[in-house]
Amino acid sequence: MDYLSLLMPVVYALLMISVFMTLCAYTVLAERKVCSYIQGRVGPNRARIPIIGHIPIIGNILTRLGLFHPAADGLKFLFKEEITPGHVRLSYYYLAPIVALVPALTTMAVLPFGRYFDANGVVQPLILANVDIGILFILAVSSLGVYGIVLAGWASNSKYPFLGAVRSTAQMISYELAMGLSILPVFLWSAAPGSDYGLSLFGVVQSQQNLWLILWQPGSALIFLVALFAETNRLPFDMAESETDLVGGFHTEYGAFKFGMFFIAEYAHIIMGSAIFVILFLGGWHFLPGIADPWPSGILGIMMSTVWFLFKVFAMIFFFIWMRWSMPRFRYDQVMHLGWKILLPLAIANFIFYIFVISIFDKLTL
């Protein structure tokens, strides 16, 4: 019994990591497919796994959808020759991809992705670690990811990675502020006096049973979204990579599996970012604004809430991808201008505005 209670969290964690990594791989595929559809191409459609790929009709459809490509890509990264350029700082060079990937996987631990009813009929989140400082943990750990980029840029000991790394550090610092400020009103609302949720993400979701936060805090949502794009280094903010002027940016000197890790980390950040946006502003696993939880209470309800949550996350991921293939890249000074001179003051104004709104609301209802 005791062993079991020790073992189960490990099993859950491993399970979640494997699901999450699969999601990462398929997000890469989604990116390639969506981008090719937007550009009038067909995208990856060649890889075929022997037995499954040769089932008469299904095999062809799966192949045309490119569903075997993630496996092929992964294997390709594994079997490529590992090249270490002679001019790098070795230990940091090897450390960087790990540092980039680990934070994205760590934040996963405090991410609620569904709900169930415990023995007393109380709603509980499906989560690895139900800590009540959820968002603080996520903000703190996920911004460690930039260390991976900085380390990579510095350890590569060459100019383009270095420029990419410096840019992305500056960008992270600038947008972290606006990001933090933009979600304060959210927690001002969810952690109302008398509620026992604190900064936990579960509390935020529970506070959106009737009205999703994006509907009455669109300002916060917009600022958070822009900052999220910047934090995940996605276009229009992909200063760290900007292929056109920095070759490949911070991972120019990386190849094979180490590059693969950076690549996965980038998509892990996107998935985490989407999930957090869904939790904070799109009502988590709640069905629609007004219809919070129409699902049965049993195992079916647990699955449906999770599936609905995943559906929203996929929609957000699609939005990320869609945005990338619609927008040009900002110039570097424009990124800084937007971050410091526009988003930060806006976030502060937004915060003050909602302080008044929420305190007046509380006065009226009490």
Binding site: I38, Q39, V42, S326
Partner: protein
């Protein structure tokens, strides 16, 4: 002096300065693109439509009666700008081919070095016998330089048979067989 007209550029409106309407319209454009038909040609399975007068690789053709049309006059060899063609003329054995004996010559070797050929089409233009044509084949590959020198058999195989409206050699033969032939 041409007159320059300076166009007034309107200052950006507030909405434009926020980028948001622009981003939204951009997103709408890309989204509508998702549902359009793709323009990709699945190359090895689907072949592009080759227009008439396309200049692919030069090939030797036969006439509809299966006879090699080239008479090894070597005009193409002479005109070829990068000197890609090498021809070895030889006589037609009159015992073996009595009906072609009057043609006198045919190539015993006809090599085109496809690595040198520039697809200019001059050989086709200069050939008095309409024996060499640049047809629709455009993708060739090989493992060595030697492999890329296409010999007579290969060129004839690639060229196939093209319709012929003259049958020049038949007419010549007829004329020759007439009494008082003057040619």
């Amino acid at each position: 002096m041409a007159k320059t007209k300076v166009l007034e550029r309107k200052p950006l409106t507030f909405a434009e300065k926020t980028f948001i309407p622009q981003i939204a319209s951009g997103l709408a454009t890309t989204f509508s693109n998702i549902f359009k038909k793709s323009v990709t040609l699945q190359y090895p399975e689907e072949r592009p439509v080759i227009p008439e007068n396309y200049r692919g690789i030069p090939t030797l053709v036969k006439d509809p009666k299966g006879r090699v049309k080239c008479v090894s006059c070597q005009l193409c060899e002479f005109v070829c700008p990068p000197k890609a063609i090498r021809i070895k003329p030889s006589e037609i054995d009159s015992d073996e081919n009595p009906d072609r004996a009057h043609i006198e010559k045919e190539p015993s070797a006809f090599d085109i070095n496809m690595l040198r050929c520039i697809y200019c089409g001059l050989c086709q233009e200069v050939c008095p016998e309409e024996a060499i044509f640049l047809q629709d084949e455009f993708s060739l590959s090989g493992y060595s330089r030697e492999e890329m020198v296409y010999g007579k058999d290969k060129l004839l195989e690639l060229g196939g048979t093209l319709p012929d409206s003259h049958y020049k050699w038949d007419k010549k033969k007829e004329a020759e067989d007439q009494p008082f032939a003057h040619h």
